[in-house]
């Protein structure tokens, strides 16, 4: 994932439900899905981060970022990840994010220049039906940059994510990224969205299938059907929510609510639908991702996740942002608590890839545009 959103915190691509298995640790009795009947061990991630500890890391990042007119944000990003990854343990080894903040700076500069260019295009653009045409022309002109950003971002982020000092990696090529990003976005629009779940499925296959841990490749066994079901469910939530919201809006107008409250009420069904899609797809991706014979499972509940997001938003707004670090930990803690691995291989027996980790420029452009390419 490229998004700077730590809620999307994940160490690899990734989640639908497999048949229920016993929750106990230890050798699982019936592991008959793989080609060999090797004994497997069920493992969970331990998460040791604490609210006030993370608050201190966060507020130091905020102060130094403001003090340095944003330059420190590169350090803030790395230190945030190092705190969250370093607080995540698997089998006695913690994860780490080993990027050098200085290597993020050229990409950040490029991203700021691109964003400033878009802002100027928006400001100077004539409007047609209220749409700034220069702005959209500039976006279109930047589209060929997208595959490069995707590949660089994912290889940078995975390449610096380590466990027992072995790094994840991404080998995706630009052709694949070009196919599943700008071209697929165009195809999704051209088919009025009906091909979108299929395209998302192919994109996930591309992203996961080209990822590795050390020398061990990830594979994705998911199919397109559950993607359609996830989007169908989200559409039902959005439509049902809007039908529910219409009487609420008239009530709001009757009691004299302002445009801000009206906007929140109107957007709420779409926000909940997007959370539903994210949760269902994250579950499905992880549950169908393999690392050799090793399997994963993520079992987030959409309703629980919606409650986390909504309560977090209210607390963040009420505390003028001071609740942000606590809100992040709540989400990460929940995600990790619902994540398990079924390991066939000995965790000490993975072979690392000693080749150098990739550069950061694309990753930073991706982060600035919030291109979510992973979980």
């Amino acid at each position: 994932m490229v998004s700077r959103n730590p809620e999307a915190f994940s160490v690899a691509p990734i989640g639908e439900y497999l048949p229920p298995e016993p929750r106990e640790r230890g050798p699982a009795p019936r592991e008959d899905r793989g080609p060999t009947a090797a004994p497997s061990v069920r493992r969970e991630l331990a998460f040791t981060a604490e609210g006030w500890e993370y608050f201190r890391v966060w507020i130091a990042n905020v102060a130094l970022t403001l003090l340095t007119l944003g330059v420190y944000s590169a350090w803030a990003k790395v230190r945030t990840r190092r705190y969250l990854y370093g607080s995540t343990r698997l089998g006695g080894g913690s994860f780490d994010f080993t990027a050098d903040p200085v290597s993020l700076l050229p990409g950040r500069l490029l991203a700021v220049l691109l964003l400033a260019g878009l802002w100027v295009a928006d400001l100077l653009s004539p409007l047609h039906y209220g749409l700034p045409v220069y702005y959209y022309a500039a976006l279109l002109a930047l589209a060929p940059l997208l595959p490069w950003v995707v590949v660089r971002a994912r290889s940078f982020n995975l390449g610096h994510t380590r466990w027992r000092h072995a790094a994840l990696a991404f080998d995706g090529d630009y052709r694949g990224a070009a196919l599943w990003y700008p071209i697929a976005i165009g195809a999704g629009i051209a088919t009025a969205g009906t091909a979108w779940p299929w395209l998302r499925w192919r994109r996930d296959r591309y992203l996961i299938g080209n990822s590795r841990f050390g020398l061990a490749p990830f594979s994705f066994e998911g199919e397109a059907g559950p993607y359609y079901r996830a989007y169908g469910g989200a559409a039902a939530i959005a439509v049902g929510g809007v039908l529910l919201v219409i009487p609420l809006l008239s009530l709001l107008v009757a009691v004299g609510g302002g445009p801000i409250a009206g906007g929140i009420v109107t957007l709420a069904p779409f926000f909940l639908a997007s959370v539903y899609i994210r949760v269902r797809l994250a579950n499905y991706r992880w549950c169908n991702t393999r690392l050799g014979l090793n399997r994963f499972r993520l079992e987030l509940e959409p309703a629980r996740m919606m409650w986390l997001y909504i309560s977090n938003m209210l607390l963040i707004a009420a505390t003028a942002g001071l609740y942000v670090p606590f809100a992040r930990l709540r989400v990460v803690r929940y995600r990790l608590s619902r994540f398990t691995m079924t390991l066939v291989d000995d965790p000490a027996g993975f072979r690392a890839d000693p080749s150098a980790a990739p550069g950061a420029t694309g990753a930073e452009v991706g982060a600035a545009f919030e291109i979510d390419i992973g979980a």
Binding site: A63, L64, R79, R82, G93, V102, G130, R164, A348, G349
Partner: protein
């Protein structure tokens, strides 16, 4: 000093327990798992401490030692740093940054200092920084650029159906034009008057580039032409000060600073709520400035100052109490406050 650590060779994930000590002056000694080795301080990459998370000390050749005892590693690092040749360039810079970060995050006092710094900067940015930037942007962009944008905005309002052609008679329109022209000349701005029907909405707008729009409903509600003169002077005040452009620049500056502080995502966007309140306060400040310009014009032309408030009062009464909520949630100051000014 002996630190228990785990050594990973960077080839497989099986670690070996090792012990780290200070070796020859300025060198790290690694004992255990067969061969003992020594590394010069300059060869190592010891990352700065983040809270109490384990650190991966990178060794030359791709291996690393994972150390959980952060206090001991801090002491060992300080000892190596003292004894080794001074760091230069990038290494010294990175170490310096890590130490400053650590100072702020290590305890409650540091966090308090960080909080005070952040709050102070945000307050200064909202109170002085953004308005100063807004002024600079207004000075830098020649007014000729505004006209095209205003035209476009007006056309958009018409295309989406917010504005319809006026039902006001041609004779009445000519009278209004005749009232408008001397105010425009007096305030020294390049502007023109447009009249549009906007359903039952009684309001007046100042578009970029100097197009002032009065709606049919506000013209109907006015019981005295001087009330409309006051409204025109108010809108021309917005035009003269180019408030739309100032607002755009100030809001952009504010949102950039606020976003940099909170790293916005779908959820943390909620932290922008206070920024919205600041934006509304800018808007009210612009309204007050336009009121002052209008009142000044009225005073110089012998028109009672109450004309401005009278029409506003009537518009508010027409829409009931709920139109005038708490002033901190509103883009305009309360009518009662404005009347008092």
């Amino acid at each position: 000093m002996r630190i228990d650590a785990r050594f990973f060779d960077g080839l497989v994930t099986s670690g070996r327990p090792v012990v780290l000590t200070a070796g020859a002056p300025g060198s790290l000694r690694l004992e255990g798992a067969g061969a003992d080795r020594e590394y010069a301080y300059a060869e190592l990459r010891i990352p700065g401490r983040v809270a109490n998370t384990p650190r991966h000390v990178a060794l030359p050749g791709g291996g690393a030692c994972v150390v959980a005892d952060n206090d001991a590693l801090d002491r060992l690092e300080a000892e190596l740093h003292r004894a080794a040749p001074a760091l230069t360039g990038g290494r010294a810079f990175r170490r310096g940054v890590d130490r400053i970060a650590r100072l702020l995050e290590r305890n409650a006092a540091g966090a308090g200092l960080a909080l005070a710094v952040a709050a102070g900067i945000l307050f200064a940015a909202a109170r002085w920084g953004a308005p100063a930037l807004g002024g600079a942007v207004v000075a830098a962009i020649p007014p000729e650029n505004d006209a095209g944008i205003g035209e476009q905005v007006l056309r958009t309002f018409e295309q989406v159906g917010l504005f319809e052609p006026t039902a006001v008679s041609a004779g009445r329109r000519a009278e209004l034009e005749a009232m408008f022209e001397p105010i425009r000349e007096d305030l020294g701005v390049d502007a023109r008057l447009e009249i549009r029907k906007a359903g039952r909405i009684g309001n007046a707008y100042a578009f970029p580039g100097g197009t002032v729009v009065l709606t049919d409903a506000i013209i109907e509600r006015a019981v005295h032409d001087e009330e409309l003169i006051a409204v025109m002077a108010h809108e021309l005040g917005h035009v003269r000060e180019r408030h739309w452009l100032r607002m755009l620049a100030q809001s952009a500056a504010l949102l950039i600073v606020w976003s940099a502080a909170t790293d916005p995502t779908m959820t943390t966007l909620a932290a922008l709520a206070p920024a919205t309140l600041v934006e509304l306060s800018y808007s009210r400040e612009f309204e007050r400035e336009a009121d002052r310009i209008a009142l000044d014009y009225l005073a110089r032309h012998g028109v009672p100052a109450s004309r401005l408030g009278d029409l506003l009062d009537r518009l508010m009464r027409a829409c009931g109490d709920r139109c005038d909520g708490p002033s901190w949630l509103s883009s305009h100051p309360r009518v009662a406050e404005r009347a008092a000014d």
